[in-house]
Subunit: 326 residues, 2 copies
């Protein structure tokens, strides 16, 4: 294998010092046109590309952002990540993606790895708060899909409580009397908020309901769907994946949606409109949220002020075919 080409080789080839080479690469200070050409020619000839490690070690940043999410195979996060990555790459950043599977200890490990890799910033969506860790590693972070009261931290989230409230009010207004609610893991902020909205709702209208503890997966919907003995007017699911599972479990039992029971989701991932019955759900601007999170971290990085922006998105009820008036 051929030896690695370094800036030294270019310098020698072009008959010039390495400082000069560095300067033409980075345009950091003027260099005479004809020497510049020599250098460029040498670079091209030897097929040189600079070592980002060495560079980062020197300059103190890596142009890399870490993203910690539960699971990239969940379309919600895939879309979110895409939103963030598109923006960041346009600004010259790369992205390291880490799946935590919502395990706090795994999250902690990932923070360590990202800190060691010297990422410039972190986008984080997960369970733990890790505040002590953040103080240790001292890397700008923005929380995603979660409201942080600690005003040292930025976040982008959406108004889950309000979204769920809107959905429930709609259901109530269309004559749904008996409810089953399948929650996500309560450690997850969004799941907690949606559940909270549901609990407040049941109190307010003194409505008949059953509460099932699930998690944000298709499988959980499948399992919990089977557990439902008394078919209610509507099964309110804490996210779309759960709803898919519930519908499937009902299909197996020949229970028809929406004829026999309404089913609702949350998130409006791209498949929910294709699902049949097309899912009544609450839409979050997922791609946009990823993008905004990326914008925030970017701003945090370039201007070193203490500006800590925060963005709360509104959610939108979208009524489709999986619900109907009772």
């Amino acid at each position: 294998m051929p030896d690695k080409i370094t800036i030294k080789d270019i310098a020698k080839e072009a008959g010039v010092s390495i400082s000069t080479v560095s300067r033409v690469i980075n345009g950091s200070s003027p260099v005479k046109k004809q020497t510049k050409e020599k250098v460029l020619k040498a670079i091209d000839k030897l097929n040189y590309y600079p070592d980002a490690l060495a560079r980062s070690l020197r300059v103190g940043y890596t142009d890399t952002i870490g993203i910690i999410i539960p699971n990239i195979a969940n379309p919600f996060f895939a879309t979110l990540v895409r939103g963030a990555e598109d923006y960041l790459r346009s600004k010259g950043y790369s992205v390291i993606i880490c799946n935590s599977d919502n395990a706090v200890d795994q999250e902690e490990k990932l923070f360590n790895i990202l800190a060691e890799k010297k990422v410039d910033g972190i986008l984080y969506s997960g369970i733990g708060d890790h505040i002590d860790k953040f103080n240790q590693i001292n890397i700008p972070i923005v929380f995603i899909d979660r409201v942080i009261k600690d005003n040292r931290f930025s976040y982008v989230s959406s108004n889950h409580y309000k979204g769920m409230e809107d959905l429930l009010n709609y259901l109530y207004s269309t004559n749904h009397k008996k409810y089953v609610f399948i929650s996500g893991k309560k450690e997850i902020f969004s799941a907690f908020e949606r559940l909270r909205a549901f609990e407040d709702f049941t109190k307010k209208y003194n409505v008949e309901y059953e509460l099932l503890e699930g998690e944000y997966t298709y499988k959980s919907g499948l399992i919990n769907g089977k557990k439902i003995k008394k078919i209610p007017d509507v099964v309110v699911c804490s996210n779309d994946l759960i709803a898919y599972g519930v519908v499937e479990s009902f299909k197996e039992r020949k229970i028809k949606v929406p004829e026999d029971v309404s089913v609702t989701g949350y998130d409006d991932i791209m498949f929910s409109k294709m699902f049949s019955p097309a899912l009544t759900t609450v839409s979050q601007p997922i791609y946009e949220m990823g993008k905004v999170a990326a914008e925030i971290i970017y701003r945090l990085l370039i201007k070193k002020d203490d500006y800590m922006p925060v963005k709360l998105f509104q959610n939108q009820l979208v009524v489709r075919e999986s619900t109907r008036r009772r």
Copy 2:
């Protein structure tokens, strides 16, 4: 902000040389129990974590793998990536994900970035062949979802031709006479192979058909679905997303699947079984393929021999509700 803690600080705190600190961190050579304790204590006290950049610069590797795919928001790739990442992380690697959107020039750019970042290996699924580039950057690579005849390169792929052939034979045996085929971009290996199987099929059985050029997206299915004037017996789609789009477009036109027309997909992404009608498709072991690709690159990295493994997966016809005997 507090100064960055380096190995030097630990050395001073523990009253020991930096070599010794390095040795206790890496266990690279024996150090007396009691000095080890001092060092560990200092590390803990000062909250030190080593700088992976500096380390990589010295040792010559980064424990990082780059992955280039068209689009992480496509569930096929999300699952694939998850398979790869799970394996790699278990071996101590991190993963940088890059979306190319199937643009050759973007792919090229991404290869450059990954080369500069000194990733140890690359997993690549895309359009271009970039053979010259690979020779330049000299980083182990494994191609995903694509057969490479050049035996200097590894790949994992699946037998798209055979899979499509099986599907078509099944359709033929269930009395489907008139076909519409919606292809993916022909530059993509899998799309090319699936189309090739279809063309051979039409010749072999001299069957009535129409060919529509699409791409691997829901939207493309929607658009091309609308273009279908004469409803055939079956619309064979080059992947599942296209099929979703076609079904949706038919729904708008009150054309019933499978009553009026069969529709098939390819890939069997996780949503296809939840889709209604549940999609008849050809399943690829997506997660497994990602995992195997990761295994291969890992083997390539640890043993520096010239072993160039290659893995071809078989695909499995899965008949569900979106087709029926004519």
